[in-house]
């Protein structure tokens, strides 16, 4: 087990360098000039532009810029952003709220998705199952921003049940609505995944055996059906946490959440390479760690799987 984790951690190193280099290259080749952007529609003062280029190492060739950025990471400050703050400060401020939001979304997914999915799977073909399928289809079909605006206007502006936007108020109450919107599509996937899995396992031989030897229905469901059915769901949830953090741009925009999505959007609009790559790097690490955790969870859920 320890050997396995060590091996996986070592594998992360080339993935880290490969991913960051790729992202850095893509950002580098975005057309447009960030220094030009800083001057807006005003004429660029060449001397000052030159000074700024040197300050942000934009006069260096591509590989040098990448190395300087790497150096920033190992120094711990991730370099300086164009707004004059260490990028690490921007990360430290944007990530907590996004993590909070993603965790709330994950709870929605796990609780609503799994419970509805289990009931639907056990009552396959009945009215509950059909209703759940139709609702999940709706959740998948309605774009996030439509759902977001709708809830914001109805629950926020009209009924005043929830704060309309997040901003400075990063309490649980304020994050519930954006968390649900962020989770909505994934809830549908979790529901469908659980339903299929449960429905399949409900007719497996070992379930019939368990029932035949006289176990109560509840025990059969929780010990035998659920444990085996959850393996694909756990995989999905694990990887989805990364996707929720990186994919919250739309939701964060609608609810004015000052998180990673917002920061990333601004950085892209202003062509701020180092900030973009730094934010994405953290996401890459989150994805790698999550996929490791998922693999470890596999072994815990399914004794047949041995990690080596």
């Amino acid at each position: 087990m320890g050997w396995y984790i060590g091996k996986r951690l070592l594998q992360m190193i080339p993935v880290f360098f490969g991913a960051t280099l790729l992202v850095y290259a893509m950002v580098f080749f975005i057309p447009g000039d960030p220094i030009q952007a800083m001057f807006g529609e005003k004429a660029v003062n060449p001397l000052i532009a030159q000074q700024l280029r040197e300050q942000f190492h934009l006069d260096q060739p591509f590989y040098m810029q990448y190395l300087i950025w790497l150096k920033g990471i190992f120094q711990g400050d991730f370099g300086m952003s164009f707004s004059g703050r260490p990028v690490i400060d921007e990360i430290a401020q944007a990530y907590p709220v996004t993590v909070k939001l993603a965790c709330i979304a994950l709870c929605f997914e796990a609780v609503i998705g799994v419970i509805l999915g289990v009931i639907a799977g056990l009552t396959k073909g009945k009215w509950f199952d059909t209703t759940a399928l139709i609702i999940s289809l709706l959740l998948i079909a309605v774009p996030t921003f439509v759902m977001g605006f709708l809830l914001q206007v109805v629950l926020g502006v009209k009924l005043q049940w929830f704060p309309v936007t997040v901003g400075a108020n990063q309490s649980l109450e304020a994050l519930v609505m954006p968390g649900f919107v962020l989770a909505s599509v994934s809830i549908a996937y979790v529901l469908r995944l659980t339903r299929t899995s449960v429905a399949e396992n409900a007719h497996a031989d070992y379930v019939r055996t368990a029932t035949a030897k006289g176990l109560r229905r509840g025990q059969v469901i929780s010990r035998h059906i659920l444990r085996n059915s959850l393996i694909p769901v756990v995989t999905f949830l694990g990887v989805d946490l990364g996707a929720l953090m990186g994919g919250a741009i739309v939701t964060e925009g609608i609810f004015n959440v000052p998180g990673v999505g917002n920061k990333l959007f601004q950085a892209i609009m202003r062509d701020q390479g180092p900030t973009i790559v730094s934010l994405v790097t953290i996401l890459v690490i989150v994805f790698m760690v999550m996929s490791l955790l998922v693999d470890l969870l596999y072994a815990a859920l399914d004794p047949r799987i041995r990690l080596a």
Binding site: P31, Q36, A168
Partner: protein
């Protein structure tokens, strides 16, 4: 200030949705009430009219550190106006008034003597004296300090030497005594005083100059407001300002503080306004333009602003030089139905242009001879186009470039359709993915089409629109004359205006200069962006300045 931030702010996709004002307004943002109430209870505070609550206004995260000379966009600019005070300020009618200065006088419009009011200090106690201004300006002009607004100091004698590295201070700035200094300009300019109210000319205290990096995150100013605390600027979230007891000028706050809440797009700001979490929103999102006047009732604002929009056809393009070019430009201008586009595409949030400057500028005319070229006249358009074709037949497609990350596609399509229908030629929009991509193509002159241009005044004067965009000295990459229009006749007419010491007389001359460009059309004026704004029932006295930004210190909140 440029149009850049508008493009970015409006870039996010919007969704049209009909809604009406919520019945009751409940405050979701009580976080700052406590700290700000204590702000101006100091016994040394001058008598102010500060009453009531903290006003919540919309804003955007400043793109640069909050240093006056490195802030050139509205997100940081609107905060600096409150934190700092310059020699002069612009009142609610656009008229320039003394702020830190007692008087600014000149015999020849070349050398100006500035006398400061006595006993004025920054909020940390540092004096606002001649040194504060001179040292700040010298620091900012030095290219080693890479200040985005350095070019503003080019009006002073000695700026070029500092840029070249042959001097460290500008010879045009001379201290007479603690409260007096003289400014020598590179050329006589009766408008000099008008410019001094711009945020680039605000002073920075000694302690700030010693460590500008720290200062930029925690600025100490001399204006009507100061930061509420060391943590008042929560990046990407909000910035809290409270009245400064050390400010003795005329811009005394009428409220207990101002908090700018930073929004990623104006859609969610609008919903916050409806829910009562925001008091003033200076830009109604496009999706709500149809309904906001009924949603907000008395709190809805819709009036022409100072942002002028146009498109520029460089004369280096085929068929657009000389006599033929002038005819074609006039034909294109006559072919655009501005009123209809303003009404249908923009839901009445634009006002068709009557000239090259804005109705908010002192001396604006609106009836300059030759401005009939800005009306819709299909017959005249066809006639002029045919005359141009007689010189050299038209071929190809007429394209207008725009940045697709801003809300431009709809009107560009409307304009090109109008041209297509009237003139019977191919015309279409040419989108660039981002604002920067389009600007880069425009500034390095590789663009081979007409392109979107615009201007929002830097200071309240017609001259600012004309010289900066069409003056020969601003061409060839030396300024914002992106079409490289050069006409000595126009330059001479502008110069004639500069010799007048009375502002009204000067405006008359500038308007004569406009007659020339109404004929040549270096850019084709389209419309003025209206101030489409709104405020909640809790606030009153919401007045928009010449720069279309609501004047924070005047707002009253019950």
């Amino acid at each position: 200030m440029s149009l850049k931030k508008k493009g970015v702010a409006l870039a996010a996709a919007s969704l049209a949705m009909a809604l009406s004002l919520g019945a009751c307004a409940k405050s979701e943002t009580p976080t700052t009430e406590g700290s700000t109430a204590a702000g101006d209870t100091s016994s040394s505070a001058p008598v102010t009219t500060a009453v009531g609550g903290v006003v919540y206004m919309n804003g955007t995260e400043p793109q640069n550190p909050l240093i006056p000379t490195s802030t050139n966009e509205v997100g940081g600019g609107r905060i600096l106006t409150n934190l700092f005070a310059g020699l002069v300020y612009y009142d609610e009618t656009g008229v320039t008034k003394m702020d830190m200065a007692e008087s600014i006088t000149s015999e020849d419009n070349l050398t100006w003597t500035v006398k400061l009011k006595a006993d004025q200090v920054f909020s940390n106690g540092d004096p606002v004296d001649a040194d504060a201004f001179i040292n700040t300006w010298n620091w900012a002009a030095d290219p080693a300090n890479a200040q985005l607004n350095a070019s503003w100091f080019a009006i002073f004698e000695g700026y070029q030497e500092v840029q070249d590295g042959t001097a460290t201070t500008m010879s045009g700035l001379v201290k007479v005594d603690d409260l007096t200094f003289t400014m020598t300009l590179t050329a006589a300019d009766p408008n000099a005083v008008l410019q001094l109210g711009y945020s680039a000319f605000y002073p920075v205290p000694k302690s700030g100059l010693a460590d500008m990096t720290a200062f930029g995150q925690n600025p100490i100013g001399n204006g009507p407001y100061k930061l509420a605390s060391d943590t008042a600027w929560q990046h990407d979230v909000q910035i809290e300002l409270v009245p400064s007891e050390t400010y003795k000028g005329d811009r005394q706050p009428h409220n207990a503080g101002v908090t700018y809440k930073f929004y990623q797009n104006t859609d969610n700001a609008y919903n916050d306004l409806l829910a009562g979490n925001l008091d003033v929103l200076d830009q109604i999102p496009n999706a709500f333009l149809e309904n906001y006047e009924s949603d907000l009732g008395a709190g809805a604002v819709n009036e022409p602003g100072s942002t002028f929009q146009s498109f520029t056809i460089p004369s280096r393009l085929a068929h657009f030089s000389g006599e033929e070019g002038t005819l074609r430009r006039q034909a294109l201008s006559y072919a655009i139905n501005r009123q209809e586009i303003c009404d249908t595409i923009f839901a009445g949030s634009r006002t068709p242009a009557k000239e090259f400057s804005s109705p908010l500028m002192p001396g604006w005319d609106g009836n300059i001879p030759g401005n009939e070229v800005l009306t819709y006249d299909p017959e005249k358009a066809k006639e002029l186009w045919a005359e141009a074709d007689a010189i050299s037949p038209w071929e190809g497609t007429f394209k207008i470039a725009y940045n697709a990350d801003g809300p431009h596609q709809a009107w560009v399509d409307a304009v090109t359709n109008s041209i297509k229908t009237v003139l019977g030629i191919d015309a279409e929009g040419d989108p660039y993915p981002t604002f920067q991509a389009s600007r880069t193509a425009i500034t390095d002159r590789t663009i081979q089409t007409a392109f979107r241009t615009g201007w929002q005044a830097d200071y309240p004067s017609i001259y600012n629109y004309l010289y900066t965009l069409y003056g020969s000295e601003a061409a060839d990459g030396n300024g914002s004359n992106d079409g490289d229009y050069k006409n000595p006749e126009f330059d001479a007419a502008l110069a004639a205006g500069l010799t007048k010491s009375d502002m009204a007389d000067a405006a008359v001359e500038f308007n004569k200069a406009q007659e020339i460009i109404l004929r040549d059309l270096p850019a084709i004026p389209l419309w003025y962006q209206n101030i489409s704004a709104g405020y909640g029932s809790a606030v009153s006295n919401v007045i928009f300045g010449w720069d279309t930004v609501p004047i924070a210190y005047l707002i009253e909140k019950a």
